[in-house]
Symmetry: C2
């Protein structure tokens, strides 16, 4: 793969997200980019894998927030396709839309490598084709190297009203390669109404704005400065201030970005999108049209892509039994869902929550999430399963004074050396082999054997075998929250 | 309560049922009469409790089938309102509709007590009022003692097309008591269409046929004989043969009813309803009209009774979050269900299955059950929880080579002395105190302690405390079916 890499190419993978539009498949601690139902791996895994083969070694940077950074690390570490890929996790000080985020990333990269070309990629889009992707990226990088701000425009397949559009202009001389060509941008168009979208489709030359950007890091900052000076629009008038703050904060080590000083500086920036702050007023913007299959997975209706519809237009995925429904999507992660005579609905079933919505209200799932958040529902925060750097756990039952989990520990991994002030733990090994340390003593525990961890004991669970270690844990105590943990040593420095 | 009892009164509680129309709340091994959501106790508990105060001691007979008899015993034993009530469980040889079943019960009771008056009660109806019930029953018994076949007719509250009707005739002289009166029956009417039902309601004098019957056992047999002789209709022409077979089989001890000889004899009988075989042609039939609140809980739409509708006509019960739905019923047993913009649906969520149906298709839930049965789905057979004579268990996870359950043992109860050929068991006591016997050794196991039961060991779990014993069981083995059990001693002779 090394000969495929493009020198100075750095990926900035945007991975914030609040987990609202794809609930109950997405959660606050497991937002849309973690959803792993399209082709079996998560959207962010696909995004990172896609760019990791092109970026220079160490050139994959994931820009997220403080709360999600650990979850992302746990998640991406578990992905086979990313084995050996070194990922640089950056937590932005606070969410301020894409102009401040991209400016900060540019400032950071420009110091790392003055010749850095950055590819800014959303992590929650679904892109299906590898070959077209490669050709598109390589041409975009060519143009970026020449000083352009390069956007990627998708050939529209229908009159979509949910995306912004880019009106492509004249071809750029010499910007053609492997059947892909670069164009000037005539103008950016906000999300259109139905009639306008249909006119765009009929007229041709309009492309969906994918939100992807390819540019030299120094050009990004320079164009922000220029936009601020020109001040042609209210949103671009603030671009210079954004670039200035980004240069300041980007000069700090990333760990300091979330300290109070940087956070306050960043929080004071206007929350504007990069398109408005720079692209719409820049004179060096270009667009590379492409017809690769793409979706922003903007709502649960994207589940339609999971299977061919049946003869009544239903897409039924998982353990689903239907009679006489029409144009309905039913996705079940594992439980049985039976449907009878439904029309134009979307049903999503997960182990702890079920959503049933009219299809044309799919965008309003956020209202459900808002209501649940207001009620303190745990189902908006996390799934019943949680990835950890050493493996994963799944909650089976939260009972009165006890809870039951399965714990999977990867070969060669161990949990932290820890103790709990409020619970004892009973571990029953189901498969694999465990080394259990309790107050300094070490026990070998094989399949169908168990071990008791008394309240307060310093203990550690290690998989010293070569296969998965699976344990059932029964915790007993008056308080069972994940935060009752004191760590004495941790391979992941938590 | 003893002074409330009516001498010679015997209840025949009809408790077969296939668990189809109320799925997923009902299952094959836990049919509609087990459903405990109306007022917190099951429909059959309500039915048996209602009649147990009136019947003579030992006069409560539950007529069911072989497969359900144990489940019913486990279920009713656990009901506080039935403490001290002796119940006689009778398994009919095979299901042949109500004429053979009632005839057999009559033959059985007539031998037990030549003066027996039988009250035949469906076990899956919902009746809300105690005082009216009592007055209605007492008058019906008076009439039955005088040789009448007495039906109970409900004053209709709306133009229902799902029930048969009884057209009441002239009052029976002297048949009045506490404001309740008996009437001749002018005619029985099959389920009407909408127009006819509306006409009945407008005209008055039409009653819903409740399916309840009060009659002397010998009169039931005599009237079947008479109907057979008169042979006025095809269904009544076979009534004499039904009575003859019932007398033969009813002379056997009930345990022999399910032996091949009796079963074949019974299976050969025509499967006709008692209404058609006898009531419609009898000259001694009477009806007692009553206005007690009643429902046959004929479909999931009966869930509407669980709560007052909100301002948009929704009935939302359990952990339900709704936005903008209308005229929709959502029942959730424990999981979170979120609904958005639905209209005229019924949603029922249980721990292992969710049903979503258009309200006007509620009767077709049986089609879903048929499809699931054909596919071998375990979700049509039983719930994740199961009552036992000693308490109950709930399955948390059926994994590869292991399963996890919670087990609740009632104070003073113990499981059978047993062994398993294919699994070991790890027991962790969560609350209460256990006595654990393993191959003859006895261990005291308190809360937060555990015990291991090796494969093949003769073992027994006893709650020798005065509070509930709750245990988490992790079973490990290559086969985990409930039928891998050898019992050496059992307090319930299983």
């Amino acid at each position: 793969m090394n000969d495929q890499r493009i020198p100075h190419l750095h990926a900035i993978v945007l991975a914030g997200g609040s987990g609202t539009r794809f609930w109950p498949l997405s959660r606050e601690l497991s937002p849309k980019q973690f959803v792993s139902i399209f082709g079996g791996v998560s959207l962010i895994t696909r995004a990172v894998t896609r760019i990791a083969g092109l970026a220079e070694p160490g050139g994959v940077h994931v820009l997220t927030n403080e709360r999600l950074a650990d979850e992302l690390g746990n998640h991406l570490k578990a992905q086979a396709s990313l084995e050996g890929v070194v990922i640089d996790y950056l937590a932005e000080p606070t969410p301020r839309n894409t102009a401040p985020a991209i400016a900060l990333a540019a400032a950071y990269l420009a110091r790392l490598d003055p010749e850095a070309v950055m590819v800014v990629l959303p992590s929650d889009h679904l892109i299906e084709d590898g070959a077209v992707w490669d050709r598109t990226m390589r041409l975009a990088v060519d143009l970026a190297t020449q000083g352009r701000l390069v956007t990627i425009g998708l050939e529209p397949t229908h009159a979509e009203t949910g995306y912004g559009y880019i009106r492509a202009g004249a071809p750029i001389a010499g910007a053609e390669r492997d059947g892909v060509s670069g164009h000037e941008v005539e103008r950016f168009v906000e999300k259109p109404d139905r009639a306008a979208a249909e006119a765009f489709l009929a007229e041709g030359g309009y492309l969906w704005n994918s939100g992807m950007l390819v540019a030299r890091a120094d050009v990004v900052l320079r164009e922000l400065d220029a936009a601020g000076e020109k001040a042609a629009t209210p949103e671009s008038a603030v671009a210079g201030a954004i670039a200035a703050a980004a240069r300041e904060i980007g000069a700090l080590p990333p760990a300091e970005w979330i300290m109070p000083a940087a956070r306050e500086r960043f929080a004071a920036l206007p929350a504007v999108p990069f398109d408005k702050a720079a692209l719409e007023v820049s004179e060096v913007v270009a667009v590379v049209p492409t017809d690769m299959p793409w979706s922003d997975v903007g709502s649960l209706l994207a589940l339609e892509r999971l299977a061919e519809p049946d003869e009544r237009g239903n897409v039924l995925v998982g353990n689903v039994t239907d009679i006489d429904s029409e144009d309905t999507i039913v996705y079940s992660a594992d439980r049985l869902v039976a449907t009878l005579g439904l029309t134009d609905l979307v049903v999503v079933d997960t182990s702890d929550a079920t959503l049933i919505a009219r299809k044309d209200r799919a965008q309003d799932v956020r209202l459900i999430v808002d209501a649940l958040k207001a009620a303190g529902a745990p189902e908006v925060v996390q799934n019943r399963s949680s990835l950890r750097p050493w493996g994963s756990w799944t909650m089976l039952l939260v009972g009165e004074g006890f809870q039951v989990k399965t714990i999977d520990v990867l070969p060669g991994c161990r949990l932290s050396l820890q103790s709990h002030a409020h619970r004892s733990e009973h571990w029953i090994v189901i498969e694999g082999h465990a080394k259990v340390e309790i107050d300094g003593d070490v026990f070998e525990v094989g399949a169908n054997e168990s071990k008791y961890v008394p309240l307060g004991a310093k203990h550690r669970l290690t998989n010293d075998g070569e296969t998965l270690l699976r344990v059932v844990e029964v915790a007993v105590g008056d308080y069972l929250g994940e935060d009752d943990i004191t760590r004495y040593q941790d391979d992941w420095a938590r």
